[in-house]
Each structure stands twice: as structure tokens, then as C-alpha cells.
């Protein structure tokens, strides 16, 4: 594909022949105003020209913050520009998973997570791939419209799964987890806390209302069934 200096042609949706996401040009996942800001920004023009998956990796490593658009003039962040470039390139699944699994670069991980949420169409896959990273508690710097905030990788992933709009884009519709569990496409979520959670539950239930005879030195709740995660209806009945 010839790389034109001004890539506007590639953004024209008429006659688009590349791979489709949800039946349309992948770049359409971003709204028109945001798309325009990205294309006109210096970062896009200088740094995102003629990238492929490998050189994109180089750029992604240099990222120092996430964010959507900021400022009065709605300037896009480099993060957003790189996501846009990824949508233009539509790399393979293996490449994306490789990006996601990089332990060393957390902004690369955030980039891949954002891409997954936008581009992958199977909800169950999205949940399964992203949920392990709810355990990654590293800090991320985030640029908001007015200033800077601190967030974490797990917060960011949680926002991706729950919220409707993040980083200046409206996320495509994702079925709620409960719905997928009811349809048996997914298992209930196993939190990274795991055993600690069970202990906490046990403590809570034991002290709830009923008088429980406790032998000396034993504080565990008596008569509690083994719980695997939080989807236990018996818990609710207490």
C-alpha cells in the first residue's frame, strides 16, 4: 500500500477495502470530530506516518500518559493517536496479545487493552482476555481535559468493561457480564483476591445476626458452603 504523505485517502470511507470491524471501517469507531483532531495533530503527522506493528511498538514504549483529548482545542494525546493508528493497521490477534502480555511496559498494555475493547467483537473473548489484568495495580498517568490525574491499570480495565465512554470515544456495546453468565457463555468471575475473599466472606457471615457458637480460638463461620467467587445466591439469602 502506497503511503501517501497525507493519509486522508485512507480515512475516506468510500471504497474502503480493508478489514472491517463490526461491519464498517475500523476508523469509524472514533467520532468524526475526534478523527479530525487526530489527523491534524503534529504527533500524528510526524510520528505516526508509515508505521507498522514493529515500529508502533517503538512509539508505544515512549508513551508516558493515557488520555483522550485535552485542552480547549481538544488536542489528542499520543495514546489516542496510536490507538487510531492501530485501528488503521488492524494487526493480528497474536500481535495484540503480545502487546498485552508485555509486563515491562504498562502503557503498551493499556494501549492493547483499549484496542481489544474497541475492536474485538465477541464479548466473551473480551471479558476473558481483559479480566486477568484487573490484578495489575500499577499506576498510570492520565491526562484529562483540565489537568492530570493518577489512575491504575486495573481501574482503567474496569472502566473499559463497565463504562460507556472513555478517552473521547464511545465504546461499542458490550453485553453485561451477568447476561453472559446467564447464557452460560462465561463462568462467574474469579477475583484475584481468591482465598482472601473467601476468608472475608466467612468472617462477615459469621457475625451476621445469628448467634453462632464459637469455640475458643475459632472465628470461622460455621456451616458455610464453599464459595467460588461472588455469584452465590446463598450469600444473598443471609
Amino acid at each position: 500500500m502506497a503511503h501517501a504523505a497525507d493519509a486522508k485517502k485512507a480515512l475516506d470511507s468510500r471504497g474502503y477495502t480493508g478489514s472491517l470491524i463490526r461491519g464498517d471501517n475500523p476508523l469509524k469507531l472514533f467520532e468524526k470530530p475526534v478523527r479530525d483532531r487526530i489527523i491534524e495533530s503534529y504527533y500524528w503527522k510526524e510520528q505516526c506516518f508509515g508505521l507498522n506493528a514493529a515500529t508502533l511498538l517503538d512509539r508505544a514504549i515512549e508513551l508516558t500518559f493515557i488520555g483522550g483529548t485535552y485542552g480547549v482545542s481538544q488536542r489528542p494525546t499520543p495514546f489516542l493517536c496510536l490507538v487510531f493508528k492501530m485501528l488503521q493497521l488492524t494487526p493480528d490477534k497474536e500481535v495484540i496479545l503480545f502487546y498485552l502480555q508485555q509486563e515491562e511496559f504498562k502503557y503498551l498494555r493499556a494501549l492493547a487493552a483499549f484496542y481489544i475493547r474497541l475492536a474485538w467483537e465477541k464479548d466473551a473473548e473480551v471479558y476473558e482476555t481483559l479480566e486477568p489484568y484487573l490484578a495489575d495495580s500499577r499506576k498510570l498517568r492520565r491526562r484529562t481535559r483540565e489537568g492530570w490525574t493518577l489512575t491504575h491499570v486495573d481501574e482503567f480495565v474496569d472502566d473499559l468493561l463497565i463504562k460507556g465512554r472513555i478517552c473521547a470515544t464511545t465504546l461499542p456495546k458490550l453485553n453485561p457480564r451477568v447476561m453472559l453468565e446467564d447464557e452460560d457463555k462465561l463462568e462467574p468471575r474469579i477475583s484475584a483476591l481468591g482465598e482472601e475473599l473467601e476468608e472475608l466472606d466467612a468472617d462477615d457471615d459469621g457475625s451476621d445476626g445469628e448467634v453462632v457458637e464459637v469455640a475458643n480460638g475459632q472465628a470461622n463461620g460455621i456451616g458455610q458452603a464453599e464459595e467460588d467467587g461472588e455469584n452465590d445466591a446463598e450469600m444473598v439469602a443471609d
Binding site: 495533530s41 503534529y42 504527533y43 510526524e46 510520528q47 508516558t64 500518559f65 484487573l134 490484578a135 495495580s137 500499577r138 499506576k139 498510570l140 498517568r141 492520565r142 491526562r143 489537568g147 492530570w148 490525574t149 493518577l150 491504575h152 486495573d154 481501574e155 474496569d158 457480564r177 451477568v178 468471575r189 477475583s191 484475584a192 483476591l193 482472601e196 475473599l197 472475608l200 461472588e230 455469584n231 445466591a233 450469600m235 444473598v236
Partner: protein, 418 residues
């Protein structure tokens, strides 16, 4: 020194404009051919000379080297040159004015006068560099005739005004070059530090938010745990509330009809109580709708939105509008006097129907001038016998002649007698 101008404005020719061509006065004057050799050496070329510093560091390493440059030596050198030059000028002037006699200093020693004058020259010269328009306040030395032989003995270069100007310009150029060099060095240093060209925001503000990990592992782990627990709690609460709704629906379904109605009545009663607690609308009180765009606001705003203004009075509000003339008895007092105001008051006054006084219709309005039976409504004229043609019972038949007496048998037509 630049020549005096006819206008009184400050002469701004001492300012440096990059790329501006500056002409020495010699070129304009008609005596350019006669100008001295000394002057021609300082003669400004018509084109501005190229800057002494190049814009592009030839070598990438030069960028690093540039940062090591210490300009102090150069500055010291420049300062030394300046001092030397001034000294030379002072000497030259002193020589020039040798033997000049001024009015006030007849009795003073030559040397001291020379010093004074040279000192004052220097000061005045410094001042005059900033405001050269002012007539130099120094006392004009009285000219002394120097014979031809003495004239030729001048070996020290005399700096007249044009040369001074030229030297000033040269100095300014030097300073400008220095500044340019400084700027280039700063840019090179910034580039070396990794600042991107496309990012001209103040990156310094980003340092407020620190994203280094493992500053305090335990605290970070604790925070993460808290977040994770909140997420789990959120999920569980969602499930619980869904469960509760389902239970409620089931329960209602299982109740009998009467029980359901009983519950509904209870609910409505509680609602009514809440409504009663609220104020009642005053007569002809304006209704202020709170607006269609309500959004998730904090508690204070919610309270403001839900406040009850029915029945409350505001400034200039007439409590009893019936005392007002009828033109002013409207709901919205702001519309008084404005064009397009409708005369609508309220529904009751505009209604043309009759409500609730139907009982009046049973009584006869006017007993004397009864309407004919035919024109009475059915309700009025209901008789046990019937209406319309059946209103009257069939009366006695008029007697016919042949019934009552004999005679007139020959008449074919029966006749009714009286």
C-alpha cells in the same frame, strides 16, 4: 554619532533589527570621496554581513559539546576590549582637546581637567548611547588651530562620530550573535534531554502526577485490594437487587387479588400523605415548572430541585387577587402591559358549560305562559296517557244525524248534526 534629526523624536537607530540594512552616514554624504582612510575601514557594507554563528550544529556530538561551553571567558574578553577601546578614545579625545581652553577652567591644571573631561566624556558617551538625540551636554571645546605639520603628526586614530556609530553597530551585532548562540545551545540541550518537537506544552506540570511504581508496595497493594473489593461489592449488589425484584414479583403474584388491592391502597395512601404535606397552590398562583433537564446532581441541588413553593409568597405578590381590578387578576404578573397577553384567566371563568346545577331544570320556569304541549320537552309533558297524538284520550264522538232521529233517509251522505 548619528546626525541630529530635524524632528524631536528619539532616534531609534541604536536598536538591532535582524536583517535590517544600516547605512553609514558617509555613504550618503557628498564627501564620501574625502573620507579618511580610518573611516573607510569602518565603512558599513551595503549588505548585512552574515552571522558569525551557524544555525546547524554540524555534528550530533556538537550538541553535547555546546552545552559545555562557558561563555564567561568570551564575555571577559569582550569587556576587556570595551575597556581598552574606551581608554583609547579617552586618550584620543584628550589629545584632540589638548590646549583647548574653556571658559571656566582657566586656572585648573591641564591634567586634572583632562581627567575630568575624559571622565565626563565617558559618562556622557554611555548616556548618549541610550539617548543620542540629546545634544551632548559637554562643553564644546574651543577649536585650536593646528598647523599643517602638527596635523600630520596625528598617529592615533581619531574616532569621529561615524566611526563611533560603526563600532556601536559592530558591538550590537556581536551581542546578537551571542544571544543566538545561547538559544541554539538551549535547543540542543532540550533535544538531548528528550523533549519532543511536537509537544510544546509545559511537560513540567505532568510531574505533579507521579506514576512510578513500587514506591510503597504495601500501600499500593492495600489500595488495590480496596478497589478490587469495591468492584466485587458492586457486582454482588447488582445481583442482589435483581434477585430482590424477582422475589417481589413472585410474591405479588402469589397474593390473592384482595391482598394486592390492599397493598396498593396502602401505597396510595402513603403517597397522598406526602402530597398533603406539601403546600397548596394559592389562588391564581403562578406555577413554576422546574424544567425538563434534570440530571444527576448532588444532594444540595436535588433539594433545591425538589423544594415546594406551592402556596408560598414572593415579593410583590398580592395574596388576595380578588382585590385587584380584573385586568390584573392573572397568574403571571410579568405579562402585564406586554403585547400578546391572552385574556385567559382560568378554566373555570372561561367555561361556558353548566356544572352541577341540573336540578334547576325540573321546575317550570314560567308557569303562566306555558308553552304549548307540542313544544314542551318530553320530560315536561310526560303523562300517563302518552305523548303526541296519544296525549288526549279519544273524546266523545260527535253525533251523526241518522243516528239520533229518523228522517233524511234519502241522503246518501251521513250528516253530522249539531
Amino acid at each position: 554619532m548619528p546626525p541630529k534629526r530635524m524632528t524631536a523624536n528619539r532616534d531609534r537607530s541604536h536598536r538591532y533589527f535582524p536583517g535590517k540594512v544600516e547605512y553609514a552616514q558617509d555613504a550618503l554624504s557628498s564627501d564620501s570621496e574625502n573620507s579618511d582612510a580610518e573611516v573607510s575601514s569602518a565603512h558599513q557594507p551595503a549588505k548585512p554581513s552574515l552571522p558569525k554563528a551557524t544555525s546547524f550544529p554540524k555534528d550530533a556530538r556538537l550538541a553535547a559539546n555546546l552545552s559545555k561551553i562557558n561563555l564567561d571567558a568570551r564575555r571577559a574578553q569582550a569587556a576587556a576590549q570595551e575597556a581598552e577601546r574606551l581608554k583609547r578614545e579617552a586618550e584620543a579625545r584628550a589629545k584632540e582637546e589638548e590646549g583647548f581652553v574653556t571658559d571656566d577652567d582657566n586656572d585648573e591644571d591641564d591634567g586634572s581637567r583632562r581627567e575630568q573631561e575624559s571622565g565626563s566624556e565617558e559618562e556622557e558617551q554611555e548616556e548618549s548611547t541610550s539617548s543620542e538625540d540629546d545634544v551632548p551636554k559637554r562643553r564644546m571645546p574651543a577649536p585650536k588651530f593646528i598647523s599643517k605639520t602638527n596635523r600630520k603628526q596625528h598617529s592615533v586614530p581619531v574616532f569621529n562620530e561615524e566611526e563611533l556609530a560603526a563600532q556601536e553597530d559592530a558591538r550590537r551585532k556581536e551581542r546578537a550573535d551571542e544571544m543566538l548562540q545561547l538559544q541554539l545551545e538551549k535547543q540542543a540541550a532540550a533535544k538531548a534531554a528528550g523533549k519532543k518537537d511536537w509537544d510544546d506544552d509545559e511537560e513540567g506540570l505532568a510531574d505533579e502526577v507521579d506514576d512510578t511504581d513500587d514506591v510503597d508496595p504495601e500501600e499500593e497493594r492495600a489500595l488495590w485490594k480496596k478497589r478490587e473489593l469495591l468492584r466485587i461489592k458492586r457486582d454482588r449488589d447488582a445481583i442482589e437487587s435483581a434477585e430482590k425484584e424477582r422475589e417481589e414479583i413472585e410474591r405479588r403474584r402469589n397474593l390473592s387479588k384482595e391482598e394486592r388491592e390492599a397493598e396498593d391502597r396502602e401505597y396510595i395512601d402513603t403517597q397522598k400523605e406526602e402530597h398533603e404535606g406539601k403546600g397548596k397552590m394559592g389562588h391564581m398562583q403562578k406555577y413554576f415548572h422546574r424544567g425538563a433537564y434534570t440530571f444527576d446532581a448532588d444532594d444540595e441541588t436535588k433539594q433545591l430541585l425538589n423544594r415546594d413553593i406551592m402556596g408560598s409568597r414572593f415579593q410583590d405578590d398580592a395574596r388576595d387577587k380578588s382585590m385587584l381590578p380584573s385586568a390584573l387578576q392573572i397568574r403571571d404578573m410579568t405579562k402585564i402591559g406586554k403585547k400578546g397577553r391572552t385574556r385567559y384567566r382560568d378554566m373555570k371563568s372561561e367555561d361556558t358549560g353548566r356544572w352541577g346545577d341540573l336540578g334547576v331544570r325540573d321546575r317550570r320556569k314560567d308557569g303562566d305562559h306555558r308553552l304549548d304541549e307540542r313544544f314542551l320537552s318530553d320530560g315536561d309533558a310526560e303523562r300517563p296517557g302518552g305523548t303526541g297524538a296519544n296525549a288526549y284520550a279519544v273524546g266523545e264522538r260527535r253525533k251523526r244525524v241518522d243516528d239520533s232521529r229518523d228522517g233524511r233517509r234519502d241522503d246518501k251522505r251521513p250528516k253530522y248534526g249539531r
